[in-house]
Symmetry: C2
Subunit: 459 residues, 2 copies
């Protein structure tokens, strides 16, 4: 396992955001990768590592890490109307270039950028399974092993979500050529899941989930079979990202996709509905009632022209959401949360919309909502700066010009809305320091490998 | 004048974006702060300073630099409905704290962040004129002099836009208490303009414009008098930022605000209409026909919940636009351009929407449109990497992981859409190197002063 295990296992912070709110002079002791004790109003003790501002690490509920390598390469109009579907064609063409070493190198860089941003866990929605010609590798989990290796190298906690992808569109249509690296049936998916289980066996804190890709990629009998075969752990699905998907689902079933799931699948707290952009009011109410998490991916939903999920309405109904970086076009927890709020402001023409309790700011509400939603969606039972939770946390640089003079919630607001460069300073995952002074402890080696890979891919 | 004048006055770039498109192996010679010669396909010569990728510096058409100091301090709901107008109340309360030294310290930091981001000129829409009690300083241009001083310290080119602000709302309503630091009549505004002219007299490349604040702050006779008295230079006005302004203008005049301006003011190429968010189709067509620039401020328009200007329609009509950082909540040319495109994608549910000619990418279209619009709006007659233009340019770090392997337009796309940290490396303004390795040559002193100011203001 990578990362530096400090000789002492105690930390002291001038202020820290705990489940009970901001506390001053907070001393943490760590043991076995977890927080053993949390003491506010404590004097620092000899050997404590001291920092200014501590926050719990966030979960990133949705990533396709290989797509980081095509960031910035599809911002050119290639059709009379360019949209999600033309982008998908380019993505299919791009992934044909990737070999297992490439997949690992890209995932390393992507996960490193995540942990440097304050994401300490990632839900990797992993659908790239086979060789470029569509044949399974001798080990069907060969690429999943590369994802696990990248998690080990970077130290990020992994919730691995092997994807079941059997069909090309609603009604069990055959897959298209561009999907050939994704395709499994229930039998081969079973072998894949077993391979994934082995791949993450040695990874501290790793979680295995199940991810039917979407209602386009799975027929009802298969969805039921997956739920029966994998009754535990996170269960993720893309849904209602594009209006075309809604229209096609209506044509196929007479129902909108979220409504169909509510009536035909046992959506519950282990479910994470990725996007749900075009869920209508009754669908949003149903998701909230089932206490499922919506996995919102603000930057990707903007980049791909998906549209704006009505998060204000959803939150007023008690809905739970987390954030994901999805296409990984730009990795920034702060910007995802900023854009999450800004998209609501643009559509509703108001300010401070995703606020919760009156005693907290918008930035804090965004952060705490994403923290809780992320933990639920990624199968992390304990989260936050409290005894028993994993020692996954990060600090903000109190001397950053955008943060100076701020206290409490204003620190979160200023980090999220006002800082042009990241003030994320130090990041621990499972008690190991993975980022120091804003740099991952292995940044140089990881970046060197990634840059070599990119030069090869783009040559 | 600050900044390092290099011993040699010649630069060589592996690639550079010129008015004729990307060129390879471009050699520039500089003289008297301007580009003397541009030679593509040239071998580097001894003494040339060599870099990888050169771009012309962008204009930032709209800034209220003092607002940088309140970034992150208004992200908390204080009312049943929080919006632009409640934000404005907080802004009025905040500015009462600022003395002339504060104004200069904040402007220095803000302008430094701009030039580090690739903005080489700023249009400072300067309306903070008087002492906190509303009385003019002995020198009515005392605060304008502080803005000019900050421009000199940072080296950014200044288009100073002294603001005429006489009334509190449509129909010549009296100003409210929070506006007392802004108020002039035509007579005192004349003295202010003369003071501004003196303040910028020694500043290389400085331009003086005129800025009636909005149709709320000026009555028709005053607007006509301003146009007559100041017939040259940029002429900027806030318009149609909020639907309430549109409603109030309709109630006052029977016309929407842009339509009123078209019928009652000589809107032409020297005009910059700031925001124009709620301009309707006929108003957008009229702006385009007059060849005025719309000053779009994507991050502020999101932050303040203004709404989304239909830039796609406007651009299809041949409309011209530039970008401004306005409230300066976060300074990033790349993110302003990214959000400019993303807001269109979110509302229209498509991709690559603000594209121009088919031979260029979205990033390049955004950049070149903002470059031309910014230059027009800020009174800069020559812009771009060509002989005769000011030597205002910057480089991107070709080894940045988000840029590696890219060429041509993909560099702009990757900078704008895919880079979590800025790849802006070196910035020259009027031939002087103001930023090196991403850091302003005076960053330490400027940040130290700013942080001291912030601690005092927030104590």
């Amino acid at each position: 396992m990578s990362g530096t295990v400090p000789p002492m296992s105690s930390l002291w912070f001038e202020s820290a955001l705990t489940p009970a709110g901001w506390r001053r002079h907070v001393r943490l002791t760590l043991a076995d990768g977890r927080i053993a004790t949390v003491a506010p109003d404590a004097a620092p003790q000899p050997g404590d590592e001291r920092h200014a501002i501590a926050l719990p690490g966030l979960g990133n509920v949705h990533s396709h890490s290989f797509q980081r390598a095509m960031a910035g390469l599809t911002e050119r109009s290639g059709a009379a109307r360019d949209d999600f579907w033309t982008w998908r064609q380019r993505m299919y063409a791009f992934l044909d270039r990737l070999d297992p070493d490439d997949v690992e190198a890209i995932a390393e860089q992507t996960f490193m950028e995540m942990i440097e941003a304050g994401f300490t866990r990632v839900g990797e929605f992993h659908y790239l399974h086979h060789a470029p010609d569509g044949r399974p590798y001798a080990n069907i989990a060969a690429l999943a092993e590369r994802i696990a290796a990248a998690a080990e190298t970077t130290g990020i906690a992994l919730t691995l979500l092997p994807v079941f992808y059997a069909h090309g569109d609603f009604g069990g249509r055959p897959p298209v050529a561009g999907q050939r690296r994704f395709i499994t049936d229930l039998s081969s998916f079973g072998r894949l899941v077993e391979g994934c289980r082995r791949a993450i066996a040695g990874l501290d804190g790793a979680v295995l989930g199940t991810a039917p890709h979407s209602l386009r990629a799975v027929v009802p009998d298969e969805l039921a079979a997956l739920q029966a075969a994998y009754p535990d752990g996170p269960f993720h699905i893309h849904v209602s990202e594009q209006t075309k998907e809604v229209d096609d689902c209506l044509a196929w079933s007479g129902q909108r996709p979220v409504a169909w799931l509510m009536d035909h699948a046992g959506v519950d707290q282990r479910w994470c509905l990725i996007h749900a952009t075009h869920a209508d009011a009754s669908e949003r109410a149903a998701i909230a009632a089932r206490q499922a998490v919506v996995g919102l991916c603000p930057m990707t939903e903007a980049s791909l022209g998906d549209g704006i999920f009505d998060a204000v309405d959803f939150q007023q109904r008690g809905g739970r959401w987390g954030i994901g970086s999805d296409s990984d076009i730009l990795i920034s927890a702060a910007e995802e949360l900023r854009l999450q709020e800004y998209a609501q402001r643009l559509s509703r023409r108001g300010r401070n919309l995703l606020t919760g309790a009156p005693d907290r700011s918008t930035g804090r509400s965004l952060f705490e909502t994403a923290l809780a939603g992320g933990a639920q969606a990624l199968g992390q039972s304990a989260v936050g700066l409290m005894a028993g939770a994993p020692a996954d946390l990060f600090t903000l640089d109190a001397t950053h010009p955008a943060l100076v003079g701020r206290t409490g919630d204003e620190l979160l607001d200023s980090w999220m809305f006002a800082a042009r460069s990241t003030p994320v300073d130090t990041v621990w995952r499972a008690g190991r320091k993975q980022v120091s002074a804003g740099r991952h402890v292995r940044r140089e080696a990881i970046e060197t490998r990634f840059c070599r890979t990119m030069k090869k891919l783009l040559a």
